[in-house]
């Protein structure tokens, strides 16, 4: 018994329980909701958010009020560049993905340099970058995205080819596992947590604070682009604001997953579960017949309730 209680305080466990609870509620109210097919479908949709949340997790962990508000548009840009390059041709997948990642890396680099060199707070730096990338999309496309995912990418996302599961879930699992290992078992990971906890103490311990910070923002843009590419595999055709709306949910996923907004504490597993919780919640609200205003309100209330369970900050009176 004494072992169960601390586990129940673990944000990841709580978030996972809430996801299960939501699915159960959905299943009772509308039987199809808890069907294996629907669950796989929701996981598929959660994977885009989940992949974008990898980068967001890294940035939040890096501390210094770290946050990346540009991930949504970077994901869209990545999707546009990749799908325009592949134009429905499997042979062009690799060049398309590389182009998207290359451009995303430059954007992340600009974010990182603006933050460490120009000392612009991350919130507003990446907010400005959100505008820049939105503008870049218009310049690149002239206002018409016109891109098509290659069939292999489509079947990776929309098919059920790997043990009856969509390949994208395996990709997500691999990426998530890899990033968890990077965070826990590499020099970069240790340094990331160090700068997230205390920039000054990390610097005085010989940690290259600026380099790690910039790397965090580069990684964030890279994972955003990957998330966008996965999403265009889902929608098959690209359009101008494909993934724009995933920014704030990606932050919410990170926070629901128990990563400290101040940095230095947390991990990716929680964010992945957070992405699932958010996706299941949206799906559940869709399938319950209620007026749209009520759905929007319930979404907000549930989010607050969720965070109130464990996402509370320290008391002043310890």
């Amino acid at each position: 018994m004494s072992r169960v209680v601390p586990i129940l305080k673990d944000p990841v466990v709580v978030a996972a329980l809430i996801a299960v609870l939501l699915i159960a509620i959905g299943g009772i109210l509308r039987p199809g909701f808890a069907s294996p097919d629907q669950i796989v479908d929701m996981l598929r949709v959660a994977s885009f958010l989940g992949i974008i949340a990898i980068g967001q997790t890294i940035v939040v962990l890096s501390g210094g009020e770290g946050i990346d508000l540009s991930v949504g548009t970077v994901a869209t840009l990545g999707a546009i560049l990749a799908s325009r390059t592949m134009a429905g041709d499997d042979a062009m997948i690799v060049p398309g993905v590389l182009l998207a990642l290359g451009v995303a890396a430059l954007i992340g680099l600009a974010n990182g340099l603006g933050i460490v060199a120009l000392k612009i707070p991350p919130f507003v730096m990446t907010l400005g970058m959100l505008g820049v990338v939105g503008g870049l999309i218009l310049v690149v496309t002239g206002g018409r995205a016109d891109g098509r995912a290659a069939p292999a990418l489509v079947s990776l996302v929309n098919g059920r080819d790997v043990l009856g599961l969509p390949g994208i879930l395996i990709v997500w699992l691999v990426l998530g596992g890899a990033v968890t290992l990077v965070l826990r078992r590499t020099v970069f990971g240790a340094r990331l947590y160090a700068i997230g906890t205390s920039r000054e103490a990390a610097r005085l311990s010989g940690v290259p604070v600026r380099r790690v910070t910039v790397s965090a923002y580069v990684l964030s843009s890279l994972f955003a682009a990957l998330g966008g590419i996965a999403m265009v595999g889902y929608s098959q055709q690209v359009f101008l604001n494909l993934a724009d709306d995933l920014t704030l949910p990606s932050i919410a996923a990170v926070v629901i997953g128990g990563t400290l907004v101040a940095g230095g504490v947390g991990g990716y597993l929680g964010s992945a579960v957070g992405a699932i919780v958010l996706t299941v919640l949206t799906s559940l609200l869709t399938t319950l017949a209620m007026p749209e205003w009520a759905r929007i309100v319930v979404q907000g209330v549930v989010l607050i309730a969720l965070l109130a369970v464990y996402g509370r900050q320290r008391r002043l009176r310890a």
């Binding site: 970058m129 503008g135 704030l248 979404q299 907000g300 607050i304 965070l307 002043l316």
Partner: protein, 326 residues
């Protein structure tokens, strides 16, 4: 007097990661440049209509920037400001029903709605102790949903007295200009209050403030309530510009106000800065879009240019930050 008392600060504070602080001169310089450039490119801005309409356009963002500034100085953040504007404006439209006689009731309703929203934010942040960024993101959802409930589809008439306000002039000074000035003056009064001092102390260092007998939770709560009230006023300003209600109004105001606050020299970490700077920041950002329009950039490049301008303004503000004393 001993030599030790004149000692310079010890290195424990030296070289701490510098917080970004915008020197007021950087904000002032940006403001001057923006105003001069806008007028040079668009001389019609100086016509009575130009002045009145420009200030009327600024007013909602100016008000929300002040609202945001108070929360940010208190160490918080309010992503729901835009949703509060929307909700309070539709509530006001519904109670005024286009009748001049009900304008005062509308004012009370808008401010009251803003206060109620601010109370919810304040409770969630100060009592539930949720992270402000994500908490107000969630509460924005609640307010937006309620706005849709109150006014399911755009419409309703705003009393002429309200829409007419912006067109009036007092001694040839347009009303909209006077309102912006009044907002600034309002702050000068507000800043002399105990609650604002406590809000600033709370934003500067909550633990220290708590130990210094500052009612920290109450101050946080108050910052959101005050901010909500001002956002409620912004709801009315929006109505004055729009002439009717729309539950989707104000979508860009929350993020725009945060940018304005930073350009205006207020550190996002709290404790520093003045809403006067935020007013300047709001005007700089609003004018920059007028400037970009006036220089006739190809439209597909304009969004890119606008983003770059915002980053440059932020960078300039950051570069103007005073170096920490050694």
């Amino acid at each position: 007097m001993t030599a030790a008392t004149q000692a310079p600060p010890a290195p424990t504070v030296v070289d701490r990661v510098r917080s970004v602080r915008v020197a007021s001169w950087a904000t002032a310089a940006l403001l001057v440049v923006a105003v001069v450039a806008a007028i040079a490119l668009q001389p019609n801005l100086l016509t009575p209509y130009g002045v009145a309409s420009t200030f009327a356009t600024f007013l909602p963002l100016v008000l929300v920037a002040v609202a945001q500034a108070i929360v940010v100085i208190g160490g918080g953040l309010d992503l729901s400001a835009g949703a509060i504007v929307a909700l309070s404006s539709v509530v006001a439209v519904q109670v005024m029903r286009g009748e001049d006689g009900l304008a005062a009731v509308g004012l009370a309703a808008a401010v009251g709605t803003g206060v109620a929203c601010g109370m919810l934010n304040g409770l969630v942040v100060s009592r539930l102790r949720l992270q402000p960024l994500i908490a107000t993101f969630a509460s924005a959802s609640i307010f937006s949903g309620l706005a849709l409930l109150v006014l399911p589809t755009p419409g309703g008439t705003v009393p002429a007295i309200l829409t007419g306000t912006f067109r009036q002039a007092i001694a040839t000074v347009p009303m909209s200009v006077l309102l912006v000035v009044a907002v600034a003056l309002g702050w000068l009064v507000l800043r002399r209050t105990r609650v604002l001092r406590h809000i600033r102390a709370t934003g500067g260092d909550p633990a220290a403030a708590y130990a210094s007998l500052v009612p920290v939770q109450t101050s946080q709560f108050a910052s959101y309530v005050l901010s909500g009230a001002i956002s409620g006023l912004a709801g009315l300003a929006v109505l004055g510009n729009a002439g009717s209600g729309d539950p989707f109004i104000g979508g860009d105001l929350a993020l725009g106000s945060v940018a304005a606050v930073v350009v205006g020299g207020i550190a996002l970490r709290g404790g520093i800065g003045s809403p006067i700077g935020a007013i300047a920041g709001a005007i700089i950002l609003a004018l920059s879009s007028t400037i970009l329009f006036s220089i006739g950039l190809p439209t597909s490049w304009r969004a890119l240019a606008a983003g770059v301008v915002v980053i440059l303004a932020l960078a300039l503000s950051a570069l103007g930050a005073p170096r920490r004393r050694r």
